[in-house]
């Protein structure tokens, strides 16, 4: 049970790359925090600074009110799970899990008890004598987690631990990680760029963009109330539909389309209208004429992709929308649909700053 506190943390790599630019964050005891963001945004760097694997250029990192900027990784009492597992290839599963405890001088019997207990929890007790190359990817990942668990650290750090697994196993492990974390109640920071993982695992989600925290909060809060265009487009799958638009005092217009019901928006500024795919509905008096291009059947629901006719075009491409609907809705390709939306649920952003206006 430990708090982690980051104050104005910065990281500039020796080559000049500014990977993290001033991050403030408070992680409560037992909380599960997920860092999510596009590739290269600095998620791993931030995590590795907490682990002590990267130096902190500026700012402070505290665990339980103890400043750890200059504490060696081994003495920070954190455990990390890596994407490529990083198991010791020549040691057995037992050896891998006990190595950290052995180095800390724990008596053998105690180590054994802990390893066996963790192995049972992870359902790898039958593999304790095997070497990593005799295990499947999922089993290896369990061992990597076991290695972290036996240490009973103050903080768990995960850097894309499930990225090397196939889709099905990933879902399974995701649930298991959540369950383990609940059970052990250890403060955890988890890096991913899989937004389903982010949404489902996090108590709070930090969306990171170019080395800064764009927004932090409960996943559903970020989904419903994104602070910026970046967060809105990053959170949610399928992605939010975006439409370039301008406000003239009466209508929000995009190309030939004129949308009613918007008030209090800045005039003659470039704006972006955002509508989630599941906020769209089929309606004869709807605002968007759509030409169906692709229908994806996902089982319980269908995703219909198509061009919004008459909408303003970003470059040469037609503005494409995704419409999430039920299983039985199967329009012909190239046919036209009319889609409506609820103005109150629509989001409007400043195009340049990305700031949300309503």
């Amino acid at each position: 049970m430990s708090k982690v506190q980051l104050s104005n943390v910065t990281k500039t790599y020796p080559n000049g790359a500014e990977a993290v630019r001033g991050v403030d964050m408070e992680v409560e005891s037992g909380e599960f925090i997920v860092f999510v963001g596009p590739s290269g945004c600095g998620k791993s760097t931030l995590l590795r600074m907490v682990a002590g694997l990267e130096s902190v250029t500026d700012g402070q990192i505290q665990i339980d009110d103890r400043l750890i900027n200059d504490v060696s990784p081994a003495d920070r009492d954190v455990a990390m799970v890596f994407q490529n597992y990083a198991l010791y290839p020549h040691m057995t599963v037992h050896g891998n899990m006990s190595y950290g405890l052995k180095n800390r001088g724990m008596p053998k019997q105690e180590i054994n008890a802990k390893v066996v207990e963790a192995a049972k929890m992870l359902k790898i007790e039958d593999f304790l004598d095997r070497q990593p190359n005799q295990l499947s990817g999922g089993q290896r990942q369990r061992v990597a987690m076991g290695r972290a668990i036996v240490r009973e650290p103050k903080v768990f750090l995960f850097d894309e631990p499930l990225s090397n697994l196939d889709a099905k196993l990933r879902v399974q492990m995701r649930i298991e990680i959540k369950r383990l974390q609940r059970r052990m109640n250890v403060t955890s920071i988890y890096v991913t760029h899989d937004q389903t993982e982010a949404m489902t695992l996090a108590d709070r989600l930090a969306v990171i963009n170019e080395g800064k925290i764009e927004q932090m909060g409960a996943p559903i809060e970020l989904y419903n109330n994104p602070a910026t265009l970046f967060v809105a487009s990053f959170i949610g799958s399928p992605q939010i539909n975006l439409l370039p638009a301008m406000f003239d005092g009466q209508y929000l217009s995009s190309g030939d389309l004129k949308l009613e019901g918007f008030v209090d928006l800045p005039q003659s500024k470039e704006l972006v209208l955002g509508i989630r795919p599941d906020e769209l509905r089929l309606s004869d008096d709807g605002q968007f004429p759509m030409r169906v291009d692709i229908v994806e059947q996902h089982g319980s629901d269908n995703l219909i992709y198509g061009a919004i006719l008459g909408a303003e075009q970003e470059s040469d491409e037609e503005t494409e929308f995704c419409f999430k609907t039920s299983q039985d809705m199967l329009p012909e390709l190239e046919s036209n649909l009319t889609l409506g939306f609820d103005v109150d649920r629509a989001l409007v952003f400043h195009k340049d700053t990305g700031e949300r206006l309503r």
Binding site: L53, A74, A86, L87, Y88, Y99
Partner: protein, 283 residues
Amino acid sequence: MASHDSQYQAVVGKSRLSTAVAHAILVAGLVFLLAPILLIIASSTHSTSTLQLGGLQWLPGDRAIENYARVISFEAGFSDRITPMGMLGNSLIIAIGVAVLTTVLSFLSAYAMVFFRLPCKGFVFWFVMVTLLFPLESRFVNTFGVVVSLGLINTHAAIVLPALAVALGTFFFRQHFLTMPKELIEAATLDGAGPFRFLKDIVVPLSISKAGAIFVIAFMIGWNQFLWPMMISTNDDLYTLVRGIGLIGQESGPGMALVVITILPPFFLLLIFQRWFYKSLSV
């Protein structure tokens, strides 16, 4: 087996004929490489006069026992202090010394270069590599001066130490260490392993087969030394087997027997290490 064959052909895309041709080439190569050894072994069973009149012999003769017996009871030098057992001992001391020290030193230097934050790492590495351009033969005179000033003349150390300045092992280990994922170090760091534990618990066990290969190569280098031992030792007690061949006469039956005896230890060493050796070369 059939399915294995066809699988192989599917991968390589070769017909049975071209497989046969490939095998023929390999067999020819094998014969070419083995011929000198077979020639020596066969010749070591002939009398000196047969060898001097008819040259080296391809077929076994009838003088094997006499020749090998003569070698074993051979004594030479001032006051007969050069004996086969003495030479064997010297060869072993020198070859094992070179092998052990080369392996340990190149391992440690590569470890430092790869895993420690050294200033001018690149420069240090290339500086070490430059030693490849100066084999022992090219620095005999200077090295001789150094050895004399250290008072090491006529010692095993004098023969072993100069042979250690070979960057090959360092290079080999460095390349191997660079293939280790950096997360391995990071995981070990978080597991509380300092530089020494990381070396002992992770790097050494993962490098054993590479170290075996370096050991064998360095052993051969030490074993086969000829010119340098001759220069630096005036003492009959330091004679090695390789030098002994010259002493006993190459064109003689016992000489051939000594040659055979001389190549045996490296051969057995290779035999013992061969699995490691191939593994480490193929990965």
